[in-house]
Symmetry: C2
Subunit: 239 residues, 2 copies
Amino acid sequence: MSRVGTLYGVGVGPGAPDLITLRAFRLITGVSVIAYPAPDDGESFARSIVAGMIRADHVEIPIIIPMRTARFPAAEIYDQAAAEIGAHLDAGRDVVVLCEGDPFFYGSFMYLHDRLSAHYACEIVPGVASPMAASAVLGLPLVSRNDVLSVVPAPGEDDALRTHILAADVTIIMKVGRHAQRIVALVAAMGLTDQAHYAERVTIDGAEFTCPLAELGDRPVPYFSMVIIQRQTERGTIT
Amino acid sequence: MSRVGTLYGVGVGPGAPDLITLRAFRLITGVSVIAYPAPDDGESFARSIVAGMIRADHVEIPIIIPMRTARFPAAEIYDQAAAEIGAHLDAGRDVVVLCEGDPFFYGSFMYLHDRLSAHYACEIVPGVASPMAASAVLGLPLVSRNDVLSVVPAPGEDDALRTHILAADVTIIMKVGRHAQRIVALVAAMGLTDQAHYAERVTIDGAEFTCPLAELGDRPVPYFSMVIIQRQTERGTIT
């Protein structure tokens, strides 16, 4: 019996190539097959982070996901990618799937994991997630002591967003994108604009941008963006 | 004028030495002064993660924090540590402060940051946080699509914990420690035991332990532990 390969879901962090882990580096440079999500109209963000580590003899499997807002037949795309990856694993080749940030924190890797983890050895390599990177770039401690943190994707309804923001000391609204002006208005109506920051593409050289939410204006907001609200509640501090 | 040093708050991840970032590795091995929190009765966890990278000629500044549950005069301890670190910075030496997980995610580094960041250049190196590591070890996708995540420290009151658990799709209860049996009872009373997992010291060689919450029993629970509740709500999936 020949050896069957292992599937690695590898977090490549928020954007800076040197914010990947030593384990991720060892795996990426050690395997012969690398898969990653990619849009149908441009470069793969996950691949771009580790582009300097990819060799000409790496077999690359881009998983092309149409970047439309309407629903799309993603199941077929992941079925096909899983089959292609499975063929490499069957042939004894380990496969690394590159994942922006952390593989299991709002990552698309779970769709491959769902399809493959019952049939193959699968290891997840956690990565630096974007909220921690944004907090680092802003120089603002995210949560401390007994703070409650809520992480809420921007597409949620206004009422639900308000409830989560009021229940937590700190709220991160993820994937702001086309919801930006609605979020800005909602935060303003809650009187929290002065306690909120905006961050996009954190740690990505030449693309990173952060500002107080009050200064966002009508800037176009990409998908990889977030709003961090730190309410001035009774947060414990040692002074 | 001689150059003034830079203060680096460096996340060293959840426990495995190879889950530190390339940037953390470069800084730790590049500076001459390293500070880290340490208990008064044993080894520093943060230092233990990178012990293999510390040289005999590294100047080490342990910040000894008494591990009592009662309040303690932490302000004086951080004042003194900040003064000691400041003296190295004034002398032109960069200083790395080692932080378990991520520096700004429930980390004590903020107490040094509060004292020093107005006076010295300060850079934060984000790290892999323990919830992402636990999710990786358990092989359970943490959050996806439009899931709402709550992170709640265990010392919170039962009513508040219940409210946060019910408001979110996924809840992480951090720093379970001596609150374990209360948390187990609360989750059971909510009928969520079968949707909960327990994780301690994830990715630490020889010390990691995870199990379904139902199997925790009367196991002693350390401070570095968490309960993850993933409610079977209408969480979106691509199947």
